[in-house]
């Protein structure tokens, strides 16, 4: 079979202060192929695609696109040539309409220089149909859509321009099964049209479903590029981490004790009269589609959003939680899902982010002991294998997955009794995921309870002792470990069989 090369990178090198992010990396992407890039957190995947998109400039190396040598890529040139990137941090204008978002920078003007909304909406409807969003009026504000739908808007936007290469950086980290399905269907269609796709992910299952070839990166170097047909899952993981590791979920045989956290008749926002409880030594999973209310429930327990009605009990005693500080006083911790805005202080060093909850632990005579603080930070950096030049590096210059690891770390140090985690392993690599699970286990073993939200079904099934499934603001199912199956969970998540609840 003969291939035509769409994108060819040769000996790309990129140096950041203190880190060689890319070290002489080669990559070639063919027309009509889905090319997966995998690697541990901080391996250089995002940096590589940011060079292709023109967001960063390489220090050395050459770029060839569609048979043409390209000198310096800028975001503008890259777009012009038909390269579209969908970053993990989506870029959209929340209060503008779907149509305006899709046709951003492309004008529909009438002769009198006013916007031609009729033509704009008509075109928008056509593009929406391509990505399966035809059921929305083009005037819908984008902020009303789910994360997955916002992603689809970006794909639609990319197709307005004559797209030859689509790059997706961890697109599924916040999507549920069904949404992932929809995304894959669109990728298949694009591939059939001859479009090249670069697909970055930490989910091994996905690459076997969607990719034609895979490139493994480690420490800024390309380790291998292989046809999917010729490589096994274990081989890929071995190439990623550089040694043999077992990909495993620590099974939870922990003895579940008394009820620790009890929520009765909680109403707030979308939540209607929800009750649940969590036991000592238990890992409790929350599952549901986007906007199902599970996140809201956590935010209420942590005092981030007010409750309209309801009672929170810890150890059988009613507690008042009006603010996160109240919650922390009751040893309740919450690792939010939005790391950039809620979980981290981006311009502060790793050290400050890790210690900010437990600053009193590094005080001596009422004053901060920076040495103690640094050693506390270093301990977590080692434990969770956070890749950073030093504890003093600002969080903003860490890779996405490494930033994510800091979010639970600062709470683990506080030894919470009730630990609420919202998507704790979003964008985290295989090895570090295991480490985070083990930390969750450790917390449970000390008699605490861990409640976590995930959109990753395999993860949910593997580590939960019990699962509550949410649907449109109510709990539609409580499933204990022995009944935990993919079908059971998925059915309840779309609201089926709600009456079966005992």
């Amino acid at each position: 079979m003969e291939y035509h090369t769409l994108l060819k990178l040769e000996a790309i090198t990129k140096q950041f202060p203190g880190v060689k992010a890319l070290d002489s990396v080669d990559l070639d992407v063919r027309f009509g192929e889905v090319h997966a890039i995998v690697g541990e957190n901080g391996a250089g995947k995002s940096t590589l695609i940011k060079i292709v998109s023109g967001a960063y400039t390489n220090d050395s190396g050459t770029i060839e696109f569609d048979g043409e040598k390209i000198g310096a890529l800028t975001p503008h040139i890259s777009l012009e040539k038909g390269i579209s990137v969908i970053y993990q941090e989506l870029s959209y204008l929340p209060t503008m309409s779907i149509a305006e978002n899709i046709y951003i920078g492309r004008q529909h003007k009438k002769k009198n220089r006013t916007v031609d909304y009729k033509a704009l909406f008509e075109n928008s409807r056509r593009m929406q149909a391509l990505v399966g969003l035809e059921h929305y009026p083009p005037s819908t504000e984008v902020r009303m859509l789910s994360t997955a739908e916002k992603q689809l808007i970006e794909i639609a936007r990319a197709q307005v321009r004559d797209m030859k290469l689509l790059i997706l950086d961890e697109p599924t980290s916040a999507l549920n099964e069904e949404e992932i399905h929809r995304l894959f269907a669109i990728i298949h269609k694009l591939r059939a049209q001859g479009c090249g796709v670069i697909y970055i992910t930490h989910k091994m299952d996905e690459i076997f479903k969607i990719a034609d070839r895979v490139t493994v990166m480690r420490d800024g170097r390309r380790i291998l590029t292989e046809d999917m047909a010729n490589i096994s899952r274990a081989d890929i993981i071995k190439a990623m981490v550089g040694r043999e590791i077992r990909e495993f979920y620590p099974i939870s045989p922990h003895g579940v004790g008394d009820v620790l956290l009890e929520i009765e008749n909680l109403s707030s926002g979308i939540l209607k009269d929800v009750s649940f409880r969590a036991h000592k030594g238990e890992i409790l999973g929350f599952y549901g589609l986007m906007g199902c209310g599970s996140e809201r429930a956590m935010e209420c327990v942590f005092g981030k959003v007010p409750m309209e009605k309801g009672v929170i009990k810890v150890d059988g005693k009613r507690v008042k939680v009006r603010s996160p500080r109240d919650a922390i006083r009751h040893k309740i911790a919450y690792a939010p899902g939005e790391r950039k805005t809620e979980g981290l202080m981006l311009i502060q060093p790793v050290r400050v982010n890790i210690s900010c909850v437990t600053l009193s632990k590094v005080k001596k005579n009422g004053l901060l002991n920076l040495k103690l603080e640094r050693s506390m930070a270093s301990r977590w950096i080692k434990q969770l294998r956070i890749k950073t030049p030093s504890p003093e590096t600002p969080i903003s210059s860490l890779s996405g997955g490494n930033q994510q690891k800091v979010v639970p770390a600062k709470w683990m140090e506080n030894k919470p009794r009730v630990f609420l985690l919202n998507e704790p392993t979003k964008g985290v690599d295989v090895g570090a995921k295991t480490e985070i699970y083990m930390q969750m286990e450790e917390i449970c073993r000390n008699g605490a309870t861990v409640v976590f939200i995930t959109s990753d079904l395999p993860e949910l099934l593997a580590i939960s002792d019990r699962v509550y499934v949410f649907h449109e603001g109510t709990i539609t199912g409580e499933i204990v470990r022995k009944d935990l199956t993919q079908e059971n969970v998925a059915k309840k998540a779309i609201g089926e069989a709600a009456h079966e609840k005992e």
Binding site: Y56, S60, A72, T341, M345, I347, Q348, V352, L367, L370
Partner: protein, 320 residues
């Protein structure tokens, strides 16, 4: 294709805004001034510089606190004037020595508390709230003594104004002590740390259990207190409490802090940055005065420096 991502040298030096940059500018400026005026490198002028930078420095240290949280206090100069006038009024009533110091500090704290309440309890945008109190404090500094200045013939005030220790004016020592205390507070106390956290991300700080409003409240108290201390220093320069103290120099503080490399958007900066900024601004002002530059030109240059400083700050924020 090599190295084309590296910004040019000038850009790199300016935008990084580190201590080295400011020092570099400072040295360049000193060379320029001394080549233009033989008077620049004299002991008397060094004292002038020390005196000018003393009150400006104390205020700028205070200004750094709300700025680190991402808010602003534009009422400082009038608050200093008001504190000075209160001191004058109490001097007339027979208060002397440390009592005067107490009056000025308490007035400063009170002014700071008013700003803090407007911003944190009533949730008024800091910029508007403190421009409002800027007018109010200035008005009060005239109303307190019906618009007349007060000569303060107090021995403590005279000591601060005219004495030196080890050849360095007492008021400069006071500034250095305040500098040391502020540095310590920012680096080694929980409050200091909270300032940086709140300035980086209010939301993340709140969700980490930091009391955002309390932190910002205290930041305004610090800013006010420094105005009170600066009032003592300012008054002792001439031995007179002036209603119009600091008029026209309101923005010098902002310029000094920002040119030192402390970020207007919060979370980044230090007292040493501010200190260097203050020295730089003092040298600028001093040199222009030595050259006998037309006051309108002085105003023009100060304005230009402010704009450039803020521009560099936005560049820095974008690069981060």
């Amino acid at each position: 294709m090599k190295r084309n991502n590296n910004p040019g040298f000038v850009r790199r030096v300016l935008v990084n805004g580190n201590v080295g940059t400011v020092l570099f500018a400072l040295i360049a400026l000193c060379i320029l001034w001394s080549s233009l005026s033989p008077y620049f490198f004299t002991l008397t002028n060094a004292k002038n510089l020390a005196i000018y930078s003393a009150y400006l420095g104390i205020m700028a240290f205070g200004f750094t606190f709300p700025i680190l949280t991402g808010s602003i206090d534009l009422s400082q100069m009038p608050l200093m004037a008001m504190s000075g006038m209160m001191m004058g009024a109490f001097y007339r009533l027979g208060v002397t020595g440390l009592g005067l110091f107490g009056v000025a500090s308490m007035t400063g704290l009170l002014g700071g508390a008013i700003n803090a309440t407007l911003v944190n309890v009533m949730n008024i945008i800091p910029f508007i709230a403190t421009v409002g109190t800027q007018l109010i404090f200035r008005a009060f500094s005239f109303l307190i003594t019906d618009g007349v200045y007060v000569t303060v013939k107090d021995s403590m005030i005279r000591t601060i104004g005219y004495e030196s220790i080890l050849g360095i004016p007492v008021m400069f020592w006071i500034m250095l002590i305040v500098l040391a205390i502020c540095w310590f507070v920012l680096k080694y106390t929980q409050f200091g740390r909270n300032l940086y956290c709140v300035g980086s991300s209010e939301q993340a700080a709140h969700l980490s259990g930091i009391n955002v409003k309390k932190t910002r409240f205290i930041a305004y108290l610090c800013s006010g207190l420094m105005c009170g201390i600066a009032a003592v220093v300012y008054t002792s320069q001439s031995g007179v409490a002036l209603n119009s103290a600091g008029t026209g120099a309101e923005m010098d503080i902002v310029t000094a802090v920002v040119i030192g490399g402390t970020s207007m958007s919060g979370g980044r900066g230090s007292i040493f940055n501010t200190f260097l900024g203050v020295i730089l601004m003092s040298v600028v002002a001093n040199g222009m005065a030595l050259l006998g530059l037309n006051p309108y030109f002085q105003m023009l240059f100060k304005g230009l420096i402010l704009v450039v400083a803020v521009y560099l700050d936005t560049l820095r924020a974008r690069n981060a």
